[in-house]
Each structure stands twice: as structure tokens, then as C-alpha cells.
Amino acid sequence: MLRIPCPWCGVRDEVEYRFGGESHLERPAPDAADAHWADYLFNRDNPSGVHHERWCHSYGCGQWFNLARDTVTHQIIAVYRMGEPKPAAGEDG
């Protein structure tokens, strides 16, 4: 079971959170081409390794935030707030 550090509430069980998928997606302008729009809608990085994703502490403070998490070991490499850029590899949150 994941134990996820909420930036506001501290470490809690994964069942308190809601997973929001890949973070840092750029929403295209309304006049984007079909392929560009489909890339935003459907294509995901889905790496076997470090994944930059967003979570919401829905049973807690209700805040969305970002995690850098290894999808194989589930090690959490970084925690950072919405709107902040991806941390450089190895950097700790």
C-alpha cells in the first residue's frame, strides 16, 4: 500500500487519495489539429520508471499536488505543488 506524503497533511494511506494521471499536460488551443487534440486526450507517457503524476488528497485537505514516483518500485522521488515545474532528476521534494 502506498503511503503518500501530502504537502499539507503529511504521510497518509493511498486510500485517502485520488489518482489524476500524468501531470503537466498542455491543453491545446481550440483550433488544434485532430492528431494534436487526440495526443492531449489519450496519449500518455506511461513510463516504466519515474512518472510525473498528479494526486488529490480527496479524503483530507482536498488539494491537488504532483508526485514524481517510480512506477516499478513505487519509490516517491519528489512531491511538489500544482503549477511547479518537474524537479530535475534525482532532486528530492
Binding site: 500500500m1 503511503r3 489524476g20 481550440p30 488544434a32 487534440w37 482536498g62 491537488w64 500544482m82 503549477g83
Partner: protein, 936 residues
């Protein structure tokens, strides 16, 4: 009945003054307090405790702890049968009834032994090679009846199952010497310590191993350790508690058993100390599965711990020094050990001298061959160092093939293992998580010896007792190319039984290594899966049963509805009145008529209510909804549709403007929570720089709707109600006020039913009183309650679709006929871009239409529109809602029909479970299309 004939005259930690009566397969037996079921059976001289899985061979107790593969019995303590209990872990209790695996006709003589006698025909994977013609199904029933170790006897389960959540700095697994030492150190350092011991009491090897600890006799050391641990307030020691799984981020599970029931612990531990010991492994020789052949350590343990002699003439067949130690201790405990056979040319001098001293015949450098016997071992053959074949008579064999450290949890934690040739076993290599391994689990010296099959038929040497896997099966697997350890496991099923290979993986691995000429380390191990020991499903579910399986929400007016005879059903997490009275159909028809002729009271409290406020509120909602709301004047409301980014309709509701920068968003009851999350996600993730506040208030406000021609008069009669006839309070208006008794309310004139309708929002705690008041006022005018089902009919007559019933996860805004709104939008909104894709604009999509049909026709929700005429049938969509309108007396419905919007007036054929009918495609609104009644 005779007294326990194999009980030693003295010794053991049992209370001989407290005899306990129990039965085994109906036979009356007796043990003492402190016995396990296994020790009591051995004391009573019971050799055969079960039958093997595949060949139905007689089997006896092999071990003394969790690794036991044979003594799996159904145990009943008077509270119902528990299948597949380990006799070695089952404390004996008065009146306990134990049954071995069902065999026909009796445990002593099992007809299914025929399989054993013809076993040459059933090598590993035999079923892959045959039973193909005419089909597997033809043989399956027979084989399935042979399968299964335990039997399920459906009976109520009175066991109390509890969940326990624990946080600690360190979890110590195992309360033997190593575990207790680690616990003491942590306790002294002031850490929060949890110690979990699988056995019924702490001590582990201290219970029987005579070796002193820190210069003290083991039992004294144990007593002192326990006293000190008890003094530390931050230490918790639990017994009968098996650590079952080690999960990500330092979460471990414990299966607790005891008189109070069973428990499932979820432990968040800062670090873990594994003091899980090592498991003694069997030796390979002929008929090494005969009853009476046991692990040496177990034989010793039964004598020292339980005062039981596993035999009257015991011989030792061992390949390591620890085996010798066990035999010596056994002989000191008063059990007659007549001989010891060791393939090693020269075992430890001191040990052999001590053995010789005790009159034990020594056969070193000997080659074990085979055991003889049918229902109990009788004798053992071996080749002496000088090549002669010899036989010794015996009624029990204490064997030791070495030790395998218990590292299941270590591997689960992601720890890597390495093979240590000196110890002939896998030991911990490294683990990126804070898991420390201590004691025998870290590697046990003096326990290593040669591992090789005996020079006798490999079909008679068992590797896996539980699933009947022999050396021959392993050889066959390797011969056929299943030589990767995972292939071997799947092909032969070695290690796949309930014991997960605790006494078989090590030998299987050694065999594969030898057969393929690879180093055991290179062959590797199979993946360790949780749980370490099987766990009762009830414990894992805990209290999540019945009403606690899923929480139900209750309406503020629940009790009032119950008094009105409401039939409650689950709707999106709420218990809501589906209809009132006994008869469903009559009830619904009556309630519909009530609304059309007089007035109905509907409890709409589950409708989602979300307040959105701030300078950016209007712009935000324009972006979230297909329907722009920025044009609304304060005090006015508008029907609004919500899409996801894929253009699919996900919710609808009414959005009211309270003030310029303050909106009240209404959602469907089913999506109240989802929409609140949806708005928050957009606000925080995409609109974070804008001044915007989203506040769900669903729980605060109960919503009572009064609808019907007499609704206006009834609501008006509430003391303190604003003037409903005053200009401006047209449909889709929003007002607020306060009743005479001080109750604040919000009023919206929203109609779902097609009648004049007043939606009254009240603080949830005030709702019951107001409902009573309304019912009282409205009674003379014919006001009565209506349930969800009646409302579904009313809205169907009015042609209002319900998202999730009349749409599915593929229905987009255009399919619902919102083309003009989409075209009219100037600014971007969620889902807009997707509606421009070719597939979304296609005129052949399944579009929402109304249908009419003859009341006699079988048209139901779920029926499909199909192409009429010849050729293969093809679905053109389906009916989403249908019924006979009590008001209009005809069949009406909604459906998603291919190209439906251009097919108005067309007759379409409908298919349901083989029956056909015909419907006419019509406009969606069946009742009062002009909407005159809504204006009342």
C-alpha cells in the same frame, strides 16, 4: 479409551493435570492443555493424519510448525467447521473435533489409492498430454472430484473478525531468541516496538533447544526477557500472530488468531527486523513420505516441548551437524534413538562421540536408500561406508536435509537473495528498504550437507508432499525443457500448494541445479507472494460485511418517508424511497396520478448543490458547462449540461445566479460528489491563478419538491413563504427567504415533472419539521409523497433524458440535440474541440429520440432497434427508457437510434430476447409540449 501411549513419562511444557478430550475422524482421544492437535495425535499414536493431494498416499505429521504439509485437517471447536487447519498450529481444546481429508471408504483404506498404484501413468503434466478427445470437459468432472484438499461445509460463521491499524518504529517478526534480543535493544532505545510471534506463546527455539543463551539456561533467559519487555510501555508483544505480507512503503499485515476471534493488522512500520528462523528440509530417499518419517527438529521439539515420543525406535537420517544435535537432545529427552545414518564420511567428532556414548549405532559415509512400511515406516535400508546393504527396524525416522532460512517476507520487501554454498541455502543479499534479518534467518551454520536423490527409483522420492511431486517429475520437467524455476513450478506444481514450498522449494532447486549443471544461485528462486501463511478471508474483510460493506446515506426525512410506507432502494449511495405502499406498479401509477391531478411531495435532497463564488465565477462556469451561464441575471436559473473533454455528456443540472459573482450549481444526485471533484480539479489545476471559490453544500440543504396543479397553493400556505404570484417568479427563478419559525429556505421554480413545481431547499436539520408541516397543509388538497420510480415516469412523459440512463459513456452533446447551443458558443469549453472530430459530427451516430408504441407491444428498456427485413440482424441502437404512460395511456420511451434525429415518424423494429415489436420515432416531449402547465 487407552491413555496416550506415546506420551513420555515426564517433560514438556504441558499441563498433564488438565486432560482435554477431542475426536479425530470420530475416534475419541485425549491430550493435555498445552498440546497442539498434532502433538496430541502423535501422543495418541496416530500415524496417518491425511491423504496426499494427487495419489492419495497415507501421510503423517512431518513438522511441528507452519511448514507442515500433511496434517491439514478440518477443525470444529463447536462453532462450525474450519477447513485446512494446520494441526501443528492448532491449540488443542476440550471437545475439539478434527477430520482428515475425505477419503473413500475410510482413511485407513482409500479406494483412490488405485491412482497411486498406477502412478506411472500420471507423471507431471500428464493432463496436458491426454484427455483431449472428444473434449476435456468429458473428463473434467471426474478429475475435479478427485481434486481439492479441504471441504467447504456451508455454515454460519460466528467468528468475530477485527481490523487493527498500527503505527510503530520497528516491527520485530518472531519472538525467538533473536527476535526478543532485537526487541529489547529497540525498547531500550525508546522506540515504539511491535513484536509478532506466530506460535501461541513466545520463545521459539528457547522452548526446546537446551543450548544456553548469554550464558543462561534458555527458559530463564526467556522469562527475564519477557519481564523486561513488559516493563516498557512502548512495547507490544502479540502471539498467535503471523506476519502475512510485506507491502510497499513499509506496510505489513498480520493475521491474528485467538479466543477473541481473528484479526487483520495493518502495520505501518519505520523499520522491520526479521527473526523468522530457518525451516529444516527433508532428505530425498525412497518412500520418504511414509507416516513416521519426520523432520529431526520436529521430533526433538515434540519430545522436549510436548513430552511426546514420535516413535519407540527412532533412527536418524541426517546430513548435517544440527541434525545430530537434535538426535542427541532427543535421546537425552528419553526417546530411544537406535541409529544415525549420515552420508558424510566424518561428521563433527564431539557429536559422534556423544552419540556413541549414548549407545546410538553410527553409520557415517552411508548412502540412504529407502524406507519400508505401508501405514507407518517399519524399516530403513542404506548402504554402509564399506558398500554393504543394511536394514534397520524402526517406527520413526528423524531426518534432516539441512535448513532453509525463512526469507519470504524479505523477498516480498524487495530484498535480493544470494546462494551461499557453505550454508547450501539462500541468504539475504541486500534490500533497499529498512529490513534487517537476524538469527537463523540470516543464515544458519552447521546445517549444511550434501543434497542428492538416493540411488533408488526416483518415482518413490517425494520433493513436494502437498502436491505429490517426486524426483521423477522434476527430472521429466527438465527433460522436456521446463528447466527455468518458474516453468518447473508451473509444470510440476512443486511449491504451489498451501505451504508455498516451505519444505519443497529447496530440494527442487538443488535437483534442477544438478540436472542442468547450473549453480543453484544461477537457477534462482521463485517469486515469494503474500501471504507467508494462508489467511482467513473473513479476517481480511474484517467488518466490511452486510451494512458495513458499503455505507448508505440517509435522507434527513428518512423516518417520515418510512412512516408513509416508503420502499427504500439504493440510488447512488443513498437509501431513497423508490415508491410507497406494498404494490410497486400500483404505487407508482397512484403517485404519478397524484402529481398530474393534485400535488406530490418528492425528496430531492441528494441533488448536488455547489456554490461557486468569485470574480472569475461566471467565466469559469461558462468554461465548465456547454450551456453558458454568464448571461443569467441574478435570481434566474438555467438548465446546464456538462461534458468531459471527449465531448461526452457526463452530467446536467440547474445553475442559478445568486449575485453577480455568486452561483449555485445543481448536479444530478448520482454525480454530486463527482462534479464537485471535477470543478475542484479544474479550479486547482487549470484555473489556479484566478480568484475562484468552490464550496459543495449538498449535506447542508435538504431539498423538498412540491409539484402539481395544487403545488403553488400548498407551498404558498407555508407561514412566511414569499408571494409566489408576485411578478418575476416565473419558471426557472431563484429566491431566498425565512419561514415564520425562523427556518431559512431557498426556493427554485424548476420542473422535472412537467407540472408547476417548487423546489424548496431547507437546512437538513429543519427539513423533517417542514415536511410534516407541508404534509399537514397539503393533505386536504391531496398532497402525498412520490418516490423515485414515479418521478422517472413523470419525466419520461415530459421527455427529459437522464444522464447515465438515457445516455451511455459514448453519447455526446450533439447526440442529445444540443447542436444549436454548441454552434452558438463563442468561447472555448470543456469538450468543445472533441465535438469537431469527424466521428463526433457523423449523422449516423446513435442519437436520442422519443418512441411511441402500442401498450400491448413488448418494448422495454434494454431492447434494441434492429434493421427490419432479411439479412443478418444488426443493432441500430437501443431503448433507454420505456413504459406505459398512466397519463397518456400509450407506450412511450426514449432511445439512442442511429441517425435518429432525421428519422422522425419512421417505424422501427425492436428486438428483445427473441421477441420483436414495432415502435414509431417521435418527438421527445409526450406531455404538454407547450409547457402551459409548468407556468401553472
Amino acid at each position: 479409551m487407552a491413555g496416550p501411549s506415546y506420551r513420555l513419562p515426564e517433560g514438556g511444557w504441558i499441563d498433564r493435570s488438565r486432560p482435554l478430550a477431542f475426536t479425530f475422524n470420530g475416534r475419541r482421544l485425549q491430550g493435555c492443555a498445552g498440546d497442539t492437535l498434532a502433538s496430541a495425535l502423535l501422543a495418541a499414536g496416530i500415524a496417518v493424519v491425511g491423504r496426499s493431494f494427487k495419489l492419495h498416499r497415507p501421510r503423517g505429521v512431518l513438522a511441528a510448525s507452519a511448514e507442515e504439509p500433511n496434517a491439514l485437517v478440518t477443525v470444529d471447536r463447536g462453532d462450525g467447521p474450519v477447513p485446512l487447519a494446520r494441526a501443528t498450529l492448532t491449540p488443542l481444546s476440550e471437545g475439539l473435533r478434527a477430520e482428515s481429508r475425505r477419503v473413500f471408504p475410510a482413511l485407513g483404506f482409500d479406494l483412490a489409492r488405485i491412482i497411486d498404484y498406477t502412478r506411472a501413468l500420471w507423471p507431471a503434466g500428464f493432463y496436458n498430454k491426454t484427455f483431449k478427445w472428444p473434449s476435456w470437459h468429458a473428463y473434467e468432472w471426474a478429475l475435479r472430484r478427485m481434486a481439492g484438499l479441504g471441504r467447504l461445509v456451508p455454515a454460519p460463521d460466528p467468528t468475530r473478525y477485527r481490523h487493527v491499524n498500527v503505527h510503530c518504529d520497528v516491527l520485530v517478526v518472531g519472538a525467538g531468541p533473536a527476535g526478543l534480543t532485537a526487541a529489547l535493544a529497540a525498547a531500550r532505545a525508546g522506540e515504539d516496538v511491535l513484536v509478532a510471534e506466530q506460535a501461541a506463546e513466545p520463545g521459539g527455539s528457547l522452548e526446546y533447544d537446551p543450548e544456553p543463551v548469554e550464558g543462561q539456561p534458555p527458559r530463564e533467559w526467556l522469562a527475564q526477557a519477557l519481564v523486561e519487555l513488559a516493563r516498557h510501555p512502548n512495547v507490544r508483544l502479540v502471539c498467535g500472530a503471523t506476519v502475512a505480507g510485506c507491502y510497499d512503503h513499509g506496510v505489513l499485515t498480520i493475521h491474528g488468531t485467538g479466543d477473541a476471534g481473528e484479526s487483520w493488522w495493518k502495520v505501518r512500520a519505520g523499520r522491520v527486523v526479521l527473526a523468522t528462523g530457518a525451516i529444516e528440509q527433508p532428505l530425498l530417499f525412497g518412500n520418504n513420505d511414509l507416516p513416521g518419517i519426520m523432520l529431526a527438529g520436529a521430533v526433538h521439539r515434540y519430545a522436549a516441548r510436548y513430552g511426546v515420543a514420535c516413535g519407540r525406535r527412532v533412527i536418524g537420517v541426517v546430513n548435517n551437524d544440527l541434525g545430530w544435535r537434535a538426535l542427541l537432545a532427543l535421546s537425552r529427552a528419553g526417546v530411544e534413538v537406535v541409529a544415525v545414518i549420515d552420508p558424510r564420511p566424518m561428521p563433527d567428532r564431539a557429536l559422534s562421540a556423544a552419540a556413541a556414548e549414548r549407545g546410538i549405532a553410527l553409520h557415517v559415509g552411508a548412502t540412504p536408500l529407502t524406507a519400508h512400511g505401508s501405514r507407518r515406516v517399519r524399516s530403513f535400508d542404506f548402504i554402509t561406508a564399506d558398500g554393504g546393504r543394511e536394514r534397520v527396524e524402526c517406527d520413526a525416522i528423524a531426518m534432516s536435509g539441512g535448513f532453509s532460512p525463512t526469507l519470504n517476507l524479505y523477498a516480498q520487501a524487495g530484498g535480493r537473495l544470494r546462494h551461499d554454498p557453505r550454508l547450501a541455502s539462500f541468504v539475504p543479499a541486500d534490500c533497499r528498504r529498512p529490513v534487517e534479518v537476524v538469527g537463523a534467518a540470516a543464515g544458519i551454520t552447521g546445517g549444511a550437507g550434501p543434497i542428492a536423490p538416493a540411488p533408488v527409483a526416483s518415482t518413490s522420492q517425494w520433493v513436494d508432499y502437498l502436491y505429490d511431486v517426486t524426483v521423477a517429475d522434476v527430472e521429466l520437467a527438465v527433460r522436456e525443457g521446463f528447466d527455468s524455476i518458474e516453468h518447473l513450478k508451473r509444470y510440476t506444481t512443486v511449491g504451489m500448494g498451501p505451504d508455498q514450498g516451505k519444505t519443497s522449494n529447496r530440494n527442487a532447486l538443488a535437483l534442477v541445479a544438478a540436472l542442468t549443471g547450473r549453480d543453484p544461485g544461477a537457477v534462482g528462486t521463485t517469486t515469494c507472494r503474500p501471504p507467508y501463511q494462508p489467511v482467513t478471508l473473513g479476517a481480511i474483510a474484517g467488518d466490511r460485511r452486510g451494512d458495513f460493506y458499503a455505507p448508505a446515506r440517509r435522507l434527513p426525512g428518512h423516518d417520515w418517508h418510512a412512516r408513509q410506507g416508503a420502499e427504500f432502494e439504493d440510488f447512488a449511495g443513498w437509501k431513497r424511497p423508490a415508491w410507497y405502499g406494498r404494490d410497486r406498479d400500483a404505487g407508482i401509477a397512484h403517485e404519478v396520478g397524484r402529481v398530474r391531478q393534485a400535488a406530490g411531495l418528492f425528496d430531492a435532497s441528494p441533488l448536488g448543490k455547489i456554490e461557486v463564488k468569485g470574480p472569475a465565477a461566471a467565466e469559469f462556469l461558462d468554461f465548465i458547462y456547454l450551456t453558458a451561464v454568464s448571461g443569467l441575471k441574478p435570481g434566474r436559473a438555467r438548465y446546464a449540461v456538462m461534458l468531459n473533454e471527449n465531448g461526452v455528456v457526463i452530467d446536467d443540472g440547474v445553475c442559478a445566479r445568486l449575485t453577480d459573482d455568486h452561483f449555485l450549481v445543481g448536479t444530478s444526485a448520482a454525480n454530486a460528489g463527482r462534479v464537485a471533484h471535477w470543478l475542484e480539479e479544474w479550479r486547482q489545476c487549470e484555473w489556479s491563478r484566478r480568484e475562484l471559490i468552490v464550496a459543495p453544500v449538498t449535506e447542508q440543504w435538504a431539498v423538498i419538491t412540491v409539484a402539481g396543479p395544487r403545488a403553488r397553493a400548498i407551498v404558498q400556505a407555508l407561514p412566511g413563504m414569499i408571494d409566489l404570484d408576485a411578478g418575476g417568479l416565473a419558471p426557472m427563478s431563484q429566491r431566498a427567504g425565512r419561514l415564520d419559525d425562523g427556518t431559512r429556505y431557498r426556493l427554485q421554480t424548476i420542473s422535472f415533472s412537467g407540472e408547476a413545481s417548487f423546489e424548496l431547499s431547507l437546512p437538513a436539520d429543519r427539513a423533517p419539521a417542514v415536511i410534516e408541516r407541508l404534509a399537514e397543509i397539503g393533505a386536504p388538497a391531496g398532497l402525498g409523497p412520490i418516490g423515485v420510480e414515479a418521478l422517472l415516469v413523470l419525466r419520461l412523459e415530459k421527455g427529459h433524458p437522464i444522464v447515465g440512463i438515457d445516455t451511455d459513456g459514448t453519447t455526446n452533446a450533439l447526440d442529445l440535440g444540443f447542436g444549436r447551443i454548441v454552434a452558438g458558443r463563442k468561447t472555448d469549453f470543456v469538450g468543445a474541440r472533441s465535438l469537431a472530430r469527424p466521428a463526433d459530427r457523423s449523422a449516423d451516430r446513435r442519437q436520442l429520440v422519443g418512441i411511441e408504441f402500442d401498450p400491448s407491444a413488448a418494448v422495454v428498456a434494454g431492447a434494441h432497434f434492429v434493421t427490419a427485413g432479411a439479412g443478418p440482424r444488426r443493432s441500430e441502437g437501443f431503448v433507454t427508457s420505456a413504459g406505459i404512460s398512466p397519463t397518456l395511456g400509450k407506450g412511450i420511451g426514449l432511445g439512442l437510434l442511429e441517425g435518429g434525429h432525421r428519422r422522425r415518424g419512421e417505424l422501427v423494429s425492436v428486438f428483445d430476447q427473441g421477441r420483436r415489436a414495432t415502435v414509431r420515432v417521435v418527438d421527445r416531449c409526450f406531455y404538454d409540449p407547450g409547457g402551459a402547465r409548468i407556468r401553472g
